[in-house]
Symmetry: C2
Subunit: 492 residues, 2 copies
């Protein structure tokens, strides 16, 4: 794979001088269309061997492109806000919005590959990380991003020559670090791990271009031409989904599904409720003050039909936690900044730091519930969302986040009773509107969507907790108990 | 001022039980209107003596209000991303958008007051910080925010009793820290500094409410009633500007203004240009790699008529800096998240960390230029913007940010020449559109606005650099030179 990049490639200065203006014009024109129409975002990964010219390519890209529409992402030294969240959070927050170009100089390959080279990561663990990366890049492509990855390569001999040359000249001496020479000594290991990483993540929707890096003109023309061609092609054609989606799920032939068998009869008397609520709130409060708790973020997601009691349950949970450590995110229509990013971006941005709790009042499941039923999302999009959501939750849990997902289940009759009560009770009146009555007519469709959702997203790592909620008291206590148990389990 | 809060105030449980449901209903109804119509944001500051019940009030507020629309802001331990930016950045980023309530438990008073109590801040320096705070709160109010500040107070004796009581019970022991007892010992100093801070920042548009805190029921009713009354009043009435704006500026009677006397004849030949550009870019590059540079952020703002050469100058600056350390922010129409915050929020959010450079292509001066001329901002708003901008820049420079503001000055004839050139040259054609021709007709109005701007915002700390730009080569070299000089001066 790398052999072709180690033979002598060269572009003479005259050819380069002839090609450059044409290429720049092509790039600028494409970039102009991109910035104006904002059809998609461009994600460029710039990786390579020490001394192979990442910095030079980056500088020239910024010179040839309109740098006002380019974001360079340097994730070299993670900040504490980044370190306290799942690894991918730092890259999600840096993703360019549609219309812009993001150049990642330090990429999501950085940590896993470096850990493997350093011997801190077993081969199987590396493969697991690479599989995560593949899923992430597929998600980007499915969401419409143009993803291009470059690996700047040369032989060990060429690397030695280059580093020595840089070191000799006073003006460039600072560019060669101890780490570069350390890398040179382990050239074989470095190349072996990268070869494996590149091979297993080289896919049509997020291709690697291995660039022979010894000759600066050859190197730059290769990168620029690859980018220009990819941009023109994508601007000309429509977005293509990478994920071949299976046909929509078919309900079991006997018609019997999970929500049909939930026993909604559970009840809790007011005295028992008061006693258990106080005990559970105290227990949760104590848990959040434990030292070990500071090693975990907590994410709670609440879903369920209108009037299922999500708000009331959330208040009882929030009431148990110091207000400085929780944040409630009501999920409504996305802002325009959120719409300019992949679907899950708006949830990633609210992920808690360690020791903090984020409570989502409705969640990322909106795509496979309301957006599916109301037709806001296309079928292909909500069908692939199941897997994207599973990947997202795996990222969270893998990083030590304690994730609890609640479905508050109520019967159709109980919903009607609550709607009527809301209409007649003064301070509850604001909780009901025409939307609620409209949604109620689609009860069957919402229930089917929920049943499909449980089947596809109740995973071992992130199971759904279905709470019978016809009785609010029972539901609130059940929610608090589930949270306490999950935290206790995580704290060991 | 505090005496009234030290006498024995008490609300009996029966009164409290009677008042609570009514108050909660009022608060919820007001909050509902707030969340739906999003007329303004609510900023609540919750400060008070140790043991006076900040935590309790916060918890009850979250219980009585709909906590899904409330953000609690705890700035206790600043993150490194916060520490590497001006002090106020952490509060700007936490400001609630219109429609939401932000409760600041740690407030912008925190650092200056604590430093003064600890003896690290002279009285004069404290007063300077308090003056900054006054201006910040006035800006919030001018932008429409409802600002309420609470100080929970009790006597030294009451504090001792309270802390001792909390410590005695096992369930509350954790709430009393060493710092609380240390504060108790210095009660007199603490109260003296806060008394001064509260007195000098107590203004109608951002009033302090001193709350007698010994009795929990009295304390909570006072806070909640104050909040409810303020909310209802503001929801009923229109927004009122705090700042009485002076009438719009009148040009000097002889008509002679700054831009009239700029000598646009400066020229630079291509050879000289090449030589000096290379030298300056090298100089700038070396400066950004100095160790001392990592202590400063750099903010560059570029303004000037269309086709003045801002883009070209920015590219020459960017070309000199490692792409990982600069970010170019093209200022266009605000996003809806930006519109939901005070005007300057969209610039605060892009402020660089130390060692980084943010280049604004057009800037916060849009309010007194394009927004003024095109009528996008009301007269009161752009008139008060001059002072807000001066305050903003003082914040930056006071924190060590190196700020350089450029006006690229071109003549009307040169602009016409460039417009025509753009229309006929292939790769430049995308740089001209109908907007440019329309703006050109308003040349006089834009020039007058720019002249007013120089007079009001070219301060000692943040002077304007007016660059004759009829000759692009001359302008680019002048821009680079000004940046180098300012950085050199700052690095000492």
């Amino acid at each position: 794979m790398f052999e072709a990049a180690e033979i002598k490639h060269k572009v003479d200065k005259a050819t380069f001088a002839r090609e450059e203006p044409r290429l720049r014009e092509t790039l600028l024109a494409a970039q102009k269309t991109l910035a104006e129409k904002k059809p998609f975002e461009v994600v460029i990964l710039l990786a390579g061997l020490a001394g192979a010219g990442k910095g030079d390519v980056l500088a020239t890209l910024n010179e040839w492109l309109d740098p006002r529409q380019v974001d360079t992402v340097d994730g070299d030294d993670a900040t504490d806000e980044e370190r306290e969240r799942p690894y991918m959070w730092r890259f999600w927050r840096a993703l360019p919005p549609k219309g812009r170009i993001g150049v990642f100089v330090h990429t999501w390959y950085g940590d896993p590959v470096a850990e493997r080279i350093g011997g801190d990561l077993a081969r199987a663990a590396l493969d697991q990380r690479l599989a995560e990366i593949r899923r992430f890049e597929r998600m980007l492509a499915d969401e419409g991003a143009l993803v291009l990855k470059f690996w700047l390569h040369f032989s060990k001999k060429q690397q030695k020559k280059r580093l020595a040359k840089l070191e000799k000249r006073r003006a460039t001496r600072w560019r060669v670090t101890k780490e570069d020479w350390a890398e040179h000594k382990r050239y074989g290991d470095v190349v072996a791990v990268w070869r494996h990483a590149i091979r297993t993540t080289n896919q049509a929707h997020a291709p690697w271009t291995v660039v022979a890096a010894a000759d600066p003109e050859f190197r730059m023309l290769t990168v620029a031409k690859t980018l220009a061609a990819a941009l023109e092609q994508r601007l000309a054609g429509p977005r293509q989904l990478v994920t071949i989606t299976a046909p929509p799920p078919i309900p079991p032939v006997d018609g019997k599904r999970l929500l049909d068998v939930v026993d909604l009869s559970a009840r809790l008397g007011p005295h028992e409720y008061k006693r258990r609520l106080a005990a559970l709130q105290g227990r949760l409060n104590a848990l959040t003050r434990e030292k070990r708790f500071r090693r975990h973020g907590v994410v709670l997601a609440f879903e369920g039909p209108d009037a299922a009691g999500k708000g009331g349950a959330i208040r009882r949970v929030a009431g148990a936690i110091d207000a400085r450590f929780f944040r409630i995110v009501p999920v409504a229509a996305p802002t325009d900044e959120e719409r300019a990013h992949p679907y899950l971006w708006r949830f990633w941005r609210h992920l808690p730091r360690r020791g903090h709790v984020t409570i989502f009042d409705r969640s990322w499941y909106g795509r496979v519930l309301v957006e599916r039923v109301e037709g806001f999302a296309e079928q292909d999009d909500w069908l692939r969302a199941y897997n994207e959501i599973n990947d997202f939750e795996e990222d969270l849990v893998g990083d030590g986040v304690i994730l609890v997902k609640f479905w508050l289940a109520i019967g159709q009759r109980e919903q009607l009773r609550r709607f009527r009560e809301r209409q007649t009770t003064g301070y509850k009146r604001f909780k009901i509107g025409p939307d609620d009555w409209r949604n109620r007519k689609k009860w069957e469709a919402y229930t089917a969507a929920a049943n499909d959702m449980f089947e596809r997203t109740s995973t071992g790592l992130a199971p759904w907790t279905i709470v019978p909620a016809d009785d609010k008291r029972h539901a609130r206590v059940a929610v608090l108990e589930a949270i306490c148990k999950r935290i206790e389990k995580a704290l060991g």
